[in-house]
Amino acid sequence: MPHTTILPSGSDATRNQSGINELSEGSPAPRLSPQEQLRDFQARMELLRGKQGKAYWRGLEELADTPQFDEVLQREFPRGAAEWLDPISRRNFLKLMGASLALAGVTACTRQADEYILPYTNAPVGLLPGVPAYYATAMPLGGLTTGLLAKSVMGRPIKLEGNPKHPASLGATDLLAQASILTFYDPERSQVVFNGNNQSTWANFVANIGPQMTQIKAANGTGLAFLTEATSSPTFAALMERLLADVPNATWYQYEPLARDNAFRASELAFGRQVLPKYDFTKADVVLALDADFLNSGVAWVRYAHDYATRRRIWEGDLSRLYVIEATPSATGTMADHRITARPSEVEALARVIAQRLGLNVPQASGLTLTEKQEKVIAGLVSDLQAKRGRSIVIAGDEQPPAVHMLAFAINEALGNVGQTVAYIETPLVQPRHNFEGIKELSEAMGRGAVRMLVIIGANPVFTAPADLDFGAKLAQVPFSVHMGLYRDETGRAATWHIPETHFLETWSDGRAYDGTTTIMQPLIAPLFNARSPIELISVLRGVELPSIDLIRNQWGVPANDRFNTFWQTTLDEGLVADSAAEPVNVKVDLGSLPPAPTLNSGGFEVIFRPDPTLYDGRFANNGWLQEVPKPLTKITWDNPALISPRTAVALLNIPVSDVANLKPEDYEKLSSANGRMLNITYGGRVLRVPLWVTPGHPDNTVTLYVGNGHTALGVIANGTGFNTYSIRTSDAPWFGPATVTATAEQYKLVSTQMHHSMEGRAIVRVGTLDRYRENPEFVKELAEFNQNLKKSLFTGEWEYNGHAWGMTIDLNTCTGCNACVVACQAENNIPIVGKSQVAMGREMHWIRIDRYYGGTLEDPMMYFQPMACVHCEKAPCELVCPVAATVHSHEGINSMVYNRCVGTKYCSNNCPYKVRRFNFLQYVDETTPSFKLMRNPEVTVRSRGVMEKCTYCQQRISAVGQAAKVQNRPIAANEIKTACQQVCPTGAIVFGDINNSEDTVTAMKELPLNYAVLGELNVVPRTTYLGRVLNFNPEIGGDVGITYFVEQHHGHADDHGGQSDGHGGHRK
């Protein structure tokens, strides 16, 4: 019998003839013969050669314009995406199908099983079924807290929002806070006390620790050491103080892998005490960031991003100007008006140059040669800073050495910024020792056998401690060690005892924010698992076993029987202790102890260690939301490759390019094939094997490594994901230092969402200079590709929206690409994660994605972010093609998905010009894990396999407010409804509301001259529109937005806008 297998052509994975970085699972399987293919390829290359660079490109591969790339572009979902992936043979599949068809027939005729209603026996006062209650609490991270309002539905915390009254939040949060709800319900969190490898109980531990402590106390605590995370908790500090009074010879160390040692050291050197600056970006006309990613990571970035954004809305007032000098491309760099890159060691040298030109007498580094651009920008920067005395900020990054911080302090003082935009306050952290020195001291003591008992709280030093300390091996030598942590992680497995730690949502605690504001953190729920809080552990070590609430009440002097204590009630209600912010202190900078100027060594490689943009220091590595959310710039998920510059890639891999100094489009294709090539990085004598990722805008001969991935014992999500860069970090140079880098022949598969959903080089992100805006405020509207009056549509007739008409604007001036909206949407709308192999096929499910576009050149690109979700077209192309009317329009202008009707044809997604629809190719939602059932938002349907989904404008939030208004017999108030993405956005870039209500902010936004619709030319009338970005270039320096729009190419805009030669537009001919 002839064997005729009907299989999709792309399923033969062996037929990969491309030899090019594999973009999709399965082979591209071109139907051309190799010769034809080559000819075709050459023809395309020839076409490209004529061009002077398509100055608007997205991803290296797009520029390459290879047949493979075309295929990716033209396929709705990459090849192989629709094919059956599970390890099930075709025969089994048919069997299963037969069975399920039969069952489908039968189930239709049976009736549903009984369901039960289980009411309370004694209902809590004020609880209304299904109505969310919000509790003020806070999230600690790196010792500092951010105020939260936690949403609780029927006793289950399901979503975290920022506390508008809290100074570090102002109603917004970062993506880590959004994702911590998933960590809270993570079934792999530690649930049981372990003694060695045996399960034990808390009671057992208490019984064991008593005699131990008695022994230690007899020796006045000699041989006892504590290792905790950074903390600002007054209760924890007081308990530790009392405990240390009992055991005076014991030592308390703190270790955070991302500790701010450099800033503290600088403060000690400059002021003789530990004070740290706090900034007010609302008053800053000029900002200089010295390798400081203050808009997307670090202390209080949510607040700083909020403040900075208030000065980037041109319709509200004058723009500030941001200069960024950075060693690795960061989100702050994308926001910069002028960005220069430098190797990490050069940043200090540049800071010294700037300080000198501002009149400070500081020794200069030797061996520095300024590039033309650096010279130009620094000259402009210096005159800008001098012109804006008292209205500028110089901020140094935590990764930079103390000298850079001291110079920033000195420049701020010299410019009169202190007291205006900069204030110094005592740090809210308790005992901020130098973390790296501390852990070094501790491991030496452990190595000497001087530590008999070690109590580790929260930290995971076996994984995060610098590799040269060999902490894991030394921990094994400590006779009695206790580890308390959220996970039984690398340290938990090495310790004698492991105690599960409570998540911050399930225990009483307290802590202080970046400015000293104190919050008493209340739990939302009793501990899910058998966990204890750090203060309970410390108390037990003192021989007193008390629940966390008693410890907190004692600390704050609130007796347990005082039920109407005003302080207690107000503090919990507001989420902060009134007037607890720290007062500014008066300090004078003394540059006398400024470290000597460095001698730069231009040769060799330098390695930079940075916090992972989504995983922080690795404690969130078992959080699937954070693993899958694409890193802001590279759009890589589930990995942490080494980032290197295009030129370095060329040199390292000997990629034959004609002119390294001027990389041309045809070279990019070769460059992109380098992505995923394994490198051997030798740092401090240790070798790390890690894949590379060519990153435009990265300084040359420098490698950026994100820390936090590559766990071995955290959970199924974290283990084996990414690469453990801590394994080469050293205690002497934890942030950057010289290294050797060699390429290997091995290739590793990296997954980036960058290549999917490409929109090709149209006027998607519209940017112009301030001059151009002044000349014509409506310039963004002119950038449309063709006549906007084209009123063709398959929809006949015009529809009037008389009632509410929901709409949204997204401000490209203030979007920092921080991903908070992506994760907030995921938490709000029960969006699953899909895993690396599925993302590789373009199957990620995020309802919002943040597109990153490049403009200009490879070496020095402009970078633009654009959040993109369903834009709710009034004339929606998706609706016309659905054969089952599963996507339909509401009378309020929302394009709804009716999951129950959806049969999964995916035609809607094919016809969507914005590529914002997401299809459940497999059963992505985990419907069985009990703790995840508790986590889901009950107001949103959980989708199963075979169903299309997409942004609904948070329909559940619209309904909730609308129905409440109806019950109260009132209209919906202006700005009353906030979508999840809007609520979380630190900069307020997203505005949602009723465009038929003139009092809604969104209506005012839509009337701004900068308002434009992406692909508005298609006459689909999207309800989400964007506010074009205005860059505030310094006229002395000039600048280029890096984009030549098609409309400008066709009309030769250089003539239209005389005198704008440097103002906008890119490669003119």
Partner: protein, 220 residues
């Protein structure tokens, strides 16, 4: 060779074709009938509960208001089943020792919920809001029937989407004056009167009829 098929085989073939067709049609029809049957949809089937609570006794004979127990029906989306403590408010005096109340005392003493069987079980992808309906002038009996006359509760409507849509398309047929919402004895006026009264009430309540048939009204 002998002819295998007799002439009447044609007839048999013909008949068997029809038999098969009718059998298939009948099977499908039977399925449809079963699917729509009251038994399948649990319409008019009294439901056995852990405690045979009689609405007839409590609501009719004793004259208790619906909201004494179902306190949240008029305020929020979910109408509550009362917590055990609500029963105790009276029953710690009344009929305290009745054997029928054993599950109640078990619940109160052990702090375990009473597993009431859900009578009105909408599909999980439907987001029904009691408060909006109640405050919009739609009475209890319109959907739940004369619960006050039921010794044990049953469902009087099949509560399918078609049934919902009947009202969502024609709210004026079912609306009643706001002060009559909780009235279990309310009788709609004759159709012609209801048509004018209903239209007037719909207008007064500010009910936007066209929005009522948007999918997103119930499904998200």
């Amino acid at each position: 060779m002998k002819q295998f098929f007799r002439p009447y085989a044609n007839l048999i073939a013909l008949i068997s074709v029809f038999v098969v067709l009718y059998a298939v049609a009948g099977f499908l029809w039977g399925g449809l009938v079963l699917d729509r049957a009251n038994w399948t949809r649990r319409v008019n089937l009294p439901v056995e509960q852990p405690i045979p609570f009689s609405h007839q006794l409590h609501a009719n004979s004793l004259g208790m208001d619906c909201q004494y127990c179902h306190a949240s029906a008029g305020i929020v989306a979910y109408s509550n089943i009362p917590p055990s403590d609500t029963c105790v408010t009276c029953h710690h005096e009344v009929k305290r020792n009745s054997a029928l109340l054993a599950p109640l005392w078990e619940s109160v003493n052990n702090d375990t919920p009473i597993p009431w069987v859900k009578v009105h079980d909408l599909a999980d992808f439907v987001y029904f809001n009691h408060a909006v309906h109640v405050n919009g002038g739609f009475g209890c009996t319109t959907c739940h029937g004369q619960v006050n006359e039921m010794p044990v509760v049953w469902k009087v409507h099949d509560m399918t989407m078609a049934w919902c849509l009947d009202c969502h398309r024609n709210p004026e047929r079912y609306i009643r004056p706001a002060d009559q919402v909780w009235n279990m004895e309310y009788e709609y006026p004759p159709t012609a009167v209801q048509a004018t009264l209903g239209a007037q009430l719909v207008r007064e309540q500010g009910i936007n009829k066209e929005v009522l048939t948007n999918c997103a009204i119930c499904h998200r």
